[in-house]
């Protein structure tokens, strides 16, 4: 029999298989990725530790299942199709991305590589599956897609235009807002210089600004307002926030664009309205005040004594109205940056003394005395009229909010390189909710208070802006029910420094 004859050959073949089996077995069980042997019907015949871990089963549990059971339903048919091709010998192996269910029900993404082992007669024995876990990288990919989509939605949704520029100010990326604002008739913006969209006369200014921003900025965003130019040649006012970022050693500019034409127009209208109304109010007020004063001065004949109190009331109220109008005009000029100051060097203490004298009569009406507690001789740079306005505001506020027969204390003393003028009252103090908006417009205790205390709520806001314009700063300290202290800190020179400065001038000249 041929069998007997061939026995040696068979033995040697078996031992070869054994060796290769052992090698295979070692490789199978120590592999870092999942490996499994699967019967022709799909039952798991063997599984390595990595595969068990990946799927969440103990090995003995897994061997009771078939792969169909743990395959995500949508992926089963393609897998079975490939299995059939393999069995029909149409292909030698296949690879596919598919999903399994983990024991805990979660979906895991894998890359599956399958080959078929046949016996000597080419009868299929079992499948060898290599399974690589892609869940983590799939998850990252999914997150990246979501992030990208989210970012895109945000960029699409913002009304502002956003463009990125390279160092030559050529547009790289932009959002739909930018297309709308720059109004490039729907054509592609990328690859065009941003300068195409800036009005001719503004172009150099804008280019210089961007170039300077690229080379030297302290990392802070900046803002520029220029005239933009649209395809149909209409100019519009464009506000442009600029920031810088570095990607792979290349500098990119990020521009946030906003069409502020309407905003500017509204601002101008508001400003014109305020100044027109104020001027229109002034003329009749001048007439009323002038008439009343002529009467009270006796220019039109002797006045019946019984009329004097009401004439006095009328005059005081016209003064109040005109100071309200002046406040409105001031705040309007300040917010438009149009207030002109005449800043000069003055000795501080005479101004303080004048201010106390000028405001004493007003304080007396509230039965309050103004007391200078401490002085400090130095020179300050102020617009004297406007400085008086700030002091009058502080002193009159302090008087208004003081209890009867109390005193308001004025102290002048150095704080670092500055001199502080502090005005302290013994009134009710400032409530916590008012503190943060005290120096903003139209803020006072409350409506009823505002009437009682005769104020517009503009005084402190004006004082703050005037102080800022004179390089000074304002502030206050207050504890509820223990009074308040309002102060202004001014840069100053001592008398000694002034003499030294004068001496230097003499030497020079």
């Amino acid at each position: 029999m041929g069998i007997a004859q061939d026995i040696t050959k068979i033995r040697s073949l078996e031992s070869d298989l054994l060796i290769s089996d052992r090698r295979f077995s070692d490789a199978f069980h120590s592999a870092a990725h999942g490996m499994g042997l699967v019967s022709i019907e799909g039952r798991w015949l063997d599984a390595n530790a990595a595969l068990c871990k990946m799927l969440g089963y103990e090995k003995n549990e897994l061997l009771l299942l078939d792969f169909q059971r743990i395959t995500y339903p949508d992926d089963l048919e393609p897998d079975l199709g490939l299995v059939k091709k393999l069995l029909d010998d149409e292909i030698l192996s296949y690879q596919m991305e598919k999903r399994y269910f983990h024991k805990n029900g979660k979906i895991i993404y894998v890359l599956l590589s399958v080959s078929l082992v046949r016996d000597m007669q080419n009868v299929p024995l079992y499948f060898v599956s290599q399974i690589q876990d892609l869940t983590e990288s799939k998850e990252l990919e999914k997150q990246a897609v979501i992030r990208q989509k989210y970012l895109q939605l945000v960029l699409d949704a913002v009304a502002d235009g956003i463009v990125t520029l390279d160092e030559q100010l050529v547009i790289e990326k932009h959002n739909p807002g930018a297309t709308r604002i720059l109004d490039h008739a729907g054509a592609e913006l990328s690859g065009l210089s941003i300068l195409n969209f800036i009005q001719k006369d503004s172009r150099d200014k804008f280019e210089d600004f961007c170039k300077a921003f690229i080379t030297d900025n302290d990392g802070k965003d900046q803002k520029i307002e220029v005239l933009g130019q649209r395809s149909q040649k209409t100019d519009y006012e464009l506000e442009c926030h600029i920031s810088k970022l570095e990607i792979e050693n290349k500098i990119k500019l990020v521009l946030v664009l906003r069409d502020i034409t309407q905003l500017k127009r509204t601002e101008r209208m508001k400003s014109e309205f305020v100044s027109t109304v104020s001027h229109e109010l002034r003329t009749p007020l001048t007439a009323i005040k002038g008439s009343l004063e002529l009467i009270s001065l006796g220019a039109l004949g002797e006045v019946n004594q019984s009329l004097l109190p009401v004439i006095d009331i009328s005059i005081r109220n016209t003064l109040r109205l005109s100071s309200l109008i002046n406040d409105l005009l001031d705040i309007d000029k300040l917010s438009a940056g149009k207030l002109e100051l005449n800043v000069q060097e003055h000795r501080l203490m005479p101004i303080i003394e004048d201010a106390i004298a000028l405001n004493s009569r007003f304080a007396e009406e509230y039965k309050v005395s103004l007391e200078l507690i401490s002085g400090y001789d130095c020179w300050v740079n102020v617009d004297i009229q406007r400085f008086h306005q700030i002091l009058a505001n502080y002193l009159s506020n302090a008087a208004k909010f003081s209890p009867l027969n109390s005193q308001v204390e004025i102290a002048v003393y150095p704080v670092g390189r500055h001199v502080r003028v502090a005005v302290k009252d013994y009134g009710p103090g400032i409530s916590d909710d008012l503190k943060p908006r005290l120096f903003t417009r139209f803020s006072q205790g409350d409506g009823s208070d505002s009437r009682k205390k005769n104020g517009t709520g503009l005084g402190l806001a004006i004082s703050k802006e005037l102080a800022t314009a004179m390089s000074a700063s304002v502030g206050f300290t207050s504890q509820n029910s223990q009074g308040s202290t309002f102060y202004i800190d001014l840069p100053c020179k001592t008398a000694g420094e002034m003499r030294a400065q004068a001496a230097t001038f003499r030497e020079v000249s």
């Binding site: 002034r282 003329t283 001048t286 007439a287 002038g290 008439s291 002529l294 001065l297 220019a299 039109l300």
Partner: protein, 133 residues
């Protein structure tokens, strides 16, 4: 030059109430002889009719001819080259005042005016002018 030499004043002001008040203030409180005109053209006509006020007080913001135009027109009349003229206005922008100074307006009185102070302000303006010329 004695302040008592200032006797007659021409006031040009378009707002009738203010015009009356300035007139009353300068006449009743200041003791001056005041003639008032409602417009620049009215003022020019008054001067062309042979009137020679010692001083002229001009409003600035007026329709048709404003204060500056009126001032220039008056100065172009040979017999009024030396008459003291001051502005009485609410519009006091520093740049504007510089421009007026270059034109030869040395005094700008501000509105709203105080009747108690206005007569002296006008008289000071007149003295200053006379001392300069």
């Amino acid at each position: 030059m004695n302040i008592s030499d200032l006797k007659t004043v021409l006031v040009v002001e378009d707002e009738s109430d203010i015009r009356l008040l300035v007139t009353m203030t300068l006449s009743k409180l200041g003791g001056l002889d005041v003639h008032a005109e409602p417009s620049g053209r009215g003022a020019l006509q008054y001067l062309a009719e042979g009137n020679h006020p010692d001083m002229i007080v001009l409003d600035v913001m007026m329709p048709d001819m404003d204060g500056v135009q009126t001032f220039e027109a008056i100065r172009s009349m040979p017999e009024f080259k030396e008459t003291p003229i001051c502005f009485l206005t609410a519009k006091v922008h520093p740049d504007e005042i510089d421009r007026w100074h270059r034109l030869g307006i040395h005094d700008v009185l501000s509105k709203p005016f105080s009747p108690a102070l206005l007569p002296d302000q006008v008289k000071n303006c007149w003295s200053k002018w006379k001392n300069l010329h």
